[in-house]
């Protein structure tokens, strides 16, 4: 069973190696001669005295929240899709009930404007 995951392990190792190599090489090979002038936020401007980080819009957060709910729903679709032929109508009705309840959730979100981007 574990042998079938060896390609995944190789893939992960290649990704980590590639990313690590790129970051390390650009750090080692790239010239870095920082000076006080270079490190200033603006070359010839007023130095800002408030933090540069601003809060992002609450809309992104709402979208991520709704994504989780339907992501968890999607997880339950995988075993159902694999077993659809075996479970026949019984499985289909089960899944229709499941989707019906989550359809109510989607309808509610839609009506309350959760899907609008202002």
């Amino acid at each position: 069973m574990l042998e079938s995951y060896v390609p995944l392990l190789i893939f992960v190792l290649i990704v980590l190696g590639l990313v690590g190599a790129l970051v390390t090489l650009s750090f080692v090979l790239g010239p870095s001669r920082p000076s006080k002038r270079k490190m200033a936020p603006y070359e010839s401007g007023i130095i800002p005295d408030t933090p540069a980080q601003r809060r992002i819009s609450v809309r992104f957060y709402l979208t991520a929240m709704l994504f989780i709910i339907f992501d968890v729903e999607a997880i339950f679709f995988y075993p159902w899709a694999v077993l659809l032929r075996q479970l026949k109508w019984f499985g289909l009705i089960e899944m229709l009930v499941f989707m019906g309840i989550l359809g109510i959730a989607l309808a509610h979100i839609w009506r309350k404007g959760g899907l609008d981007w202002e």
Binding site: L2, M65, V82, L83, A105
Partner: protein, 168 residues
């Protein structure tokens, strides 16, 4: 080989767990938790839980952690004050945690595990098919209740994130 993988993943999980509780900035705690999740998914694979492995990566390391990152981006980088208002909180916590760990450790000493009632074909244990068969036959009721839980979560989330003075 499996032993080596176990110890690498276990070391990653413990290191990530220490990172979660010791970093001052919340964003580093979240990224440490991602390390813990990935390490645990590898352990699930060692335990022949192939579908749980995929679900862990998609739901936890994917979705839940993205939500945490968005919330941190939303709230801004708030550093926390180290001072506690309860004077004895740190020492009481240490005492409680030591007692809890001692209890768990004592429970693991000389433990004998119940052997499997019937032998199962391990080559299909924990695959998508076997999980689905359990989910759609034996655990049909909990499965349908799951959708109700998600419905409640969706309604709660929409209600809590409505705008000020928006009574729709």
């Amino acid at each position: 080989m499996a032993i080596v993988i176990f110890f690498i993943a276990a070391a990653m999980a413990v290191a990530g767990g220490i990172g979660v509780i010791s970093f001052r900035q919340p964003i580093r705690s979240v990224l440490s938790l991602v390390v813990v999740m990935i390490a645990l998914s590898v352990l699930f694979l060692l335990l022949s839980a192939q579908f749980i492995f995929v679900a862990q990566v998609i739901v936890y390391a994917g979705a839940v952690m993205v939500l945490f990152l968005f919330v941190i981006a939303l709230l801004g980088p708030a550093k926390e004050i180290a001072k506690s208002r309860l004077r004895f909180q740190a020492s009481l916590s240490a005492l409680f945690v030591l007692a809890l760990f001692g209890l768990l450790w004592a429970m693991l000493q000389g433990v004998t595990y119940r052997q499997p009632d019937k032998t199962v074909d391990m080559s299909i244990f924990g695959t998508v098919q076997s999980i689905g068969l359990g989910l759609f036959t034996k655990f049909l009721y909990p499965f349908e209740l799951t959708s109700l839980l998600l419905l409640v979560a969706a309604i709660g989330a929409i209600y809590l994130s409505r705008k000020e003075g928006d009574d729709r």
